[in-house]
Symmetry: C2
Subunit: 339 residues, 2 copies
């Protein structure tokens, strides 16, 4: 559909970079359900896993490609004939802390490589997975985080700032590609994702998965500090829908938040997970563990998603009680126990 | 002097990465004047020039090394035996716009390489040249810019945001090196530098050099918009002193602004340059040129340097009238005419 940034799903081919993942597998399912001719999951399996995509492996319109966003040849082949590319491949804060060389390579050069491959193959639209990390961390982060909120970094750990700044750069590389060769793109600033096939790599999602594991072991769940710290999650199924709609809608050259219905405090979260997991001991308040990266804010905050509704017609539908219920049901299933 | 982050200048060796430059040549002179045993100017001459260092070439304690911050072997050799390393090598906004691949390489991987070389060679202290670009551009930038001011990017051109974010990353790489292996460092956030051996690469310094060239050709100088836009410069000699003091003082793991005595509007600046150049036609107001990167702010701002005084005992001494007088005297000299 030349001349319009709208890329219909049905009959088109899509490539998901970093696809063997929580968000990648859910989005692949969403695109296939909406009639995509083919979905290619591209992953180097540094963070991606077979477990994350096991449920899709036999799908006739799904293809798995082992490749690396740091290798142009891999990208040029994988993106050939694609109507849309979803760029998820990234290091998050915890892995950035362990390996800032690899992290900055993938989060910056990886995006440059992906955009260049899309240019060469005339890919209609890129959806870039950014993060609420572009608003930073520390005391400056409070209140409503809207798309124009600046990047705060005072008091945040280096790796969190490196991660946030690398996402700011990724967004600007998309913007630069739009200006320089007319590349259509939508940036979605994900808040912390959770849901079926939850992994252990996101600092904030650990509040969910660690609590669940403690409750299952009969140990009291832990709350850091007094439990009043705010987090704002988004359910993976809602995010898969946001990715799909970012391709479908005519929006381009824009960055919007994709967050869940409402924020939650860590105490509320731990209490809710405990209840949904069948109950257990009362949460224990603990101090921060030395050497462990925790992401703090300046107080209660809410990641506004009104702009995403205006631009894409998207709003989150699954609240935390329902999303956590699904996550726990998945973990209790055969698939979750194997993962 | 193990155990203290103070690195005396006299008797010690220093390496300046990106040294064949405005700031590099002035700092080399400052360090040599203060008794440095050797100063190594390391440059790949992408932006550096022989002209910038011609006045130093025959100095017995100065050594020029052609090398690239993207090549570890070059850096490992150049930093051997150095008490301090000043990391200046960088792309600024205009070159970032032309070549974001090269710019992000040098401004990020180049800093990682430099820090790694310093670690291998047990270099006592790194001084990292950051920029007031870490406060960003556009409508959010106004008032007093202090060290905790967040990064604004709404309304700024992609290359300016890429540049600012790359400097934020460079700072955090220093901080990470301090945490992970105790690397002493000071970050100086330079405002726009001007002075003898002025080049044409900094978007804001063009207001000076282009005005001077127009006046010399008998053309009316140009002011963009209504001339009310604020800029805050720093004289290169003041900055050379700041670099020297950043090595000498016990400060470490800190980032401070290094700006001139006071900001100036572009109309005041153009008028002052015209007067100091011997007078000429009244300035002509022009609109922004399409395709040219101009760096805007949200109104009057001042880059505060009080923290640099508290931390390093440094404050700027040369005001714009005197600094511009020196710049113009240099251009009118034999050396300036050849450059």
């Amino acid at each position: 559909m030349p001349g319009t940034p709208a890329v219909p799903i049905a009959g088109n081919r899509f490539c998901i970079l970093g696809g063997a993942s929580l968000v990648g597998s859910a989005t692949a399912g969403e695109l296939l359900d909406h009639g995509a001719a083919e979905v290619v999951l591209f992953d180097n399996f540094t963070f991606g896993s077979d477990a994350a995509i096991a449920h899709l492996r036999d799908h006739p319109r799904l293809r798995l490609v082992r490749g690396d966003v740091m290798r142009m040849a891999d990208l040029l082949r994988a993106t050939e004939g694609m109507a849309g590319v979803l760029q998820l491949a990234a290091y998050m804060t915890l892995s950035m802390d362990r390996d800032p060389w690899g992290g900055l390579d993938v989060n910056i050069r990886g995006v440059q490589n992906a955009l260049e491959a899309c240019r060469a193959n005339r890919v209609g639209k890129v959806v870039f997975a950014s993060s609420n990390a572009v608003y930073g961390y520390g005391p400056g982060v409070a209140g409503d985080l809207v798309e124009g909120t600046p990047f705060h970094s005072v008091g945040a750990p280096p790796a969190a700032i490196l991660y946030g700044a690398s996402k700011i750069i990724g967004e600007q590389l998309c913007r630069d590609a739009h200006r320089k060769w007319g590349q259509d793109y939508v940036v979605l600033r994900y808040s912390t994702v959770y849901g079926e096939r939850q992994h252990h790599r996101a600092a904030n999602a650990l509040y969910i998965i660690e609590t669940l594991e403690r409750v299952r072991r009969g140990e009291p769940p832990e709350v850091f500090g007094d439990g009043s710290e705010t987090k704002h999650f988004v359910y993976v199924g809602d995010l898969a829908r946001a990715n799909r709609m970012a391709f479908e809608r005519a929006a381009t050259d824009v960055a919007v938040n994709a967050s869940g219905p409402a924020p939650i405090t860590t105490l509320e979260l731990v209490t809710l997970v405990t209840e949904l997991a069948g109950g257990g001991p009362a949460p224990r308040c603990v101090g921060a563990e030395p050497g462990k990266v925790r992401l703090t804010s300046g107080g209660a905050f809410r990641i506004a998603h009104e702009e995403a509704f205006r631009v894409l017609g998207w709003r989150p539908e699954v609240d935390m009680r329902e999303g956590l219920r699904r996550l726990i049901a998945w973990r209790d299933s055969n698939e979750g126990r194997v993962a």
